[in-house]
Amino acid sequence: MTGARDLLTGGAEEPVRILDADGTVVAPDVVPELDDETLRSMYRDMRFCRRFDERAISLQRQGRIGTYSSLAGQEGSQIGSTYALDDEDLISYQYREHGAVVARGFPWEYLLYWAGHERGNEALADLNVLPLNITIGDHLPHVVGAAWAAKLEGDDRVAVAHFGDGATSEGDFHEAMNFAGVFDVPAVFVCNNNGWAISTPAERQTASETFAQKAVAYGFEGVRVDGMDPLATYAVVRAAREKARNPGDGQRRPTLVEAVQYRFGAHTTADDPSAYRDEAEVERWKAKDPIARFESFLRDTGRLDDERVDEIEDEIEATLSRAVERVENYEANPDEMFEHVFAEMTDGLREQRDSFRRLYGEYGDAIRRGDE
């Protein structure tokens, strides 16, 4: 009998897996106890992520949003790991992990961020999600600090960081892991190992055999999980969360979770992966698609049928269309760039804003930089 805790110590090499590529349950003793509604909601969110991805790439191609980073292939890890948290748990994520936002309810403004507006980050604060991170690994110490603060304040919250395999090479990764261990903070580190950091394959990112094993050096547990299996990711992150709040004897609170998965698409819409990776490799991983796998499981266990799938699809299309429409109708006031620099605007900045207003009043949009 495998208890939840054992998931974290069950061996670093072979990833924890509950569903195989066909959606068959291969580890019945650790299937998380989730009601049908929650399981269907996870499936809906995974499909939403994939469809959001397709729409965003197409919007970028049409010049309607800016550079976008695709998450296709990584929905299982995103949704599984975020469902394992409580709403009060603080998340800090990276630019590819849209699933963390989808699982927290996807405010339409999220798309606004990708259309080039800071306001897109604003709504995340209500969902206990810190602003999207573009810099690599810088946010890991923040997560440690937030977890540490929760511990100092006696709150029952954990803090969770999402990052990629590449981020583990940054100095901030080391500093964050070290502090997490030394101060024994209730943090969960979800490393989305998708095989590639732009053109650098994971095996050239580190000489370590796995990313999870790095945790050993910091004095806490590291575990590999099949990141294309939402149930396994859920189970592992749930166990890590429980340990963070209530560690057993001799256990340290933090956990490094290496979610093994694959980036189906390009790094971003500005990238062309054909320059550095083999299409056959992509196809091999696509056979493990997290959505198809989870859908098979739900259908086989009677939780999903064609009718429900159609309903979900229609709802996703409608929700996305509304979001796109609101983004397209959004008109930014250029003044916004002067806001929120400080709690109180400085005199110098007010002067710059007023001078800008005067010019904008005089020239209108002719004051914008053109394609000179």
Partner: protein, 332 residues
């Protein structure tokens, strides 16, 4: 070589970067390139395209994702005697390496009393206007110009890019080489196929004029020249000086131009406060106070974080804003 007829190629600025690297790597086997995605992928902007196939993985090195590691190991290589050219993918990602650049690259010579040196070139694309994500658009050349022991170069034409890059690689001291990515592919220019240098520390007068001196660099050079042409129709004759090197500044050319016109404007993308416009105004005060007929006008980015792309074209100095600023100085 000097007498030989040289052939020229018509290259974009980013192709000139590549050509400069290729030329110097062919000439000097101590030169190597390292960074994220510079090898097999040829760089995210294709600035190192084909170099991996040409020079192999020991001279065109794909590194782990670690800016401090990239620059820090380059410092060790430089101290050992090689001439590394580390690439930081975007200037906004340079900060993990900031400590290495300012605490070590800039000071190794001083600290060892000249016994160890640090002849490396840190290349990074900088600047806004390409609808890039957050942290991909800043212009923070002043951070580096503020640091003694570093040279800071910003080219604005394909010809200068190759010549300045070769100068930077041959320079015995560390150079931060910032590339205006907005104009990476905006236009082409003639670039000699042979190796040649453009000296570090020399500005270029791009347009001669008598009414006002306008100092600028990088991607702002083109809108400034356009503003100058528009103003010429209105009877204002601008001299446009492309500084090309931000440290050391070409004080002589700045002062000479100013003494001729008695008025000045500085155009830069970087935030106004602490930007190099202030330094240029001070040089004018120190060297040519009695020639001064108007306050030095600074046409710059605002003192706000660089906005996400929807508003970036309001943030960056436009032709209209440059014209307005120049008129302020001329009509004072």
């Amino acid at each position: 070589m000097a007498t030989q007829q040289t052939t020229t190629q018509n290259l974009t600025l980013v192709q000139a970067v590549r050509d400069g690297l290729y030329t110097e790597m062919s000439r000097d086997s101590d030169v190597l390139v390292l960074g994220e995605d510079v090898g097999k992928n040829g760089g995210v902007f294709r600035a190192t395209e084909g170099l991996y196939d040409e020079f192999g993985p020991d001279r065109v090195i794909d590194t782990p994702l670690a800016e401090s590691g990239i620059v820090g190991t380059a410092i060790g290589m430089a101290a050992y005697g090689l001439k590394p050219v580390p690439e930081i993918q975007f200037m906004g990602f340079i900060y993990p390496a900031f400590d290495q650049i300012v605490s070590h690259a800039a000071r190794l010579r001083t600290r060892s009393r000249g016994r160890f040196t640090c002849p490396l070139v840190v290349r990074a694309p900088y600047g806004g206007g390409i609808r890039a994500p957050e942290h991909h658009s800043e212009s923070k050349e002043a951070f580096f110009a503020h640091e003694p022991g570093l040279k800071v170069v910003i080219p604005s034409t394909p010809h200068d890019t190759k010549g300045l890059l070769i100068s930077a690689i041959r320079d015995p001291d560390p150079v931060v080489f910032l590339e205006p990515k907005l104009i990476y592919r905006a236009f082409r220019g003639d670039v000699p196929e042979d190796d040649y240098t453009v000296p570090i520390g020399e500005a270029a007068v791009r347009r001669e004029g008598t009414d006002i001196s306008v100092f600028t660099w990088g991607a702002m050079t083109r809108p400034t020249l356009e503003a100058a042409e528009n103003l010429a129709e209105a009877g204002v004759d601008c001299e446009v000086v492309d500084l090309r090197t931000m440290s050391p500044l070409d004080r002589e050319t700045i002062v000479e131009s100013f003494k001729k016109t008695g008025r000045a404007a500085v155009v830069h993308e970087a935030p106004k406060t602490g930007g190099l416009g202030g330094e240029i105004a001070s040089i004018i005060q120190e060297e040519a106070l009695l020639y001064q007929e108007a306050p030095v006008e600074r046409i710059a980015g605002f003192d706000t974080p660089f906005p996400l792309y929807a508003l970036e074209d309001y943030y960056l100095p436009s032709v209209a804003r440059v014209e307005e600023g120049i008129r302020n100085a001329v009509e004072f």
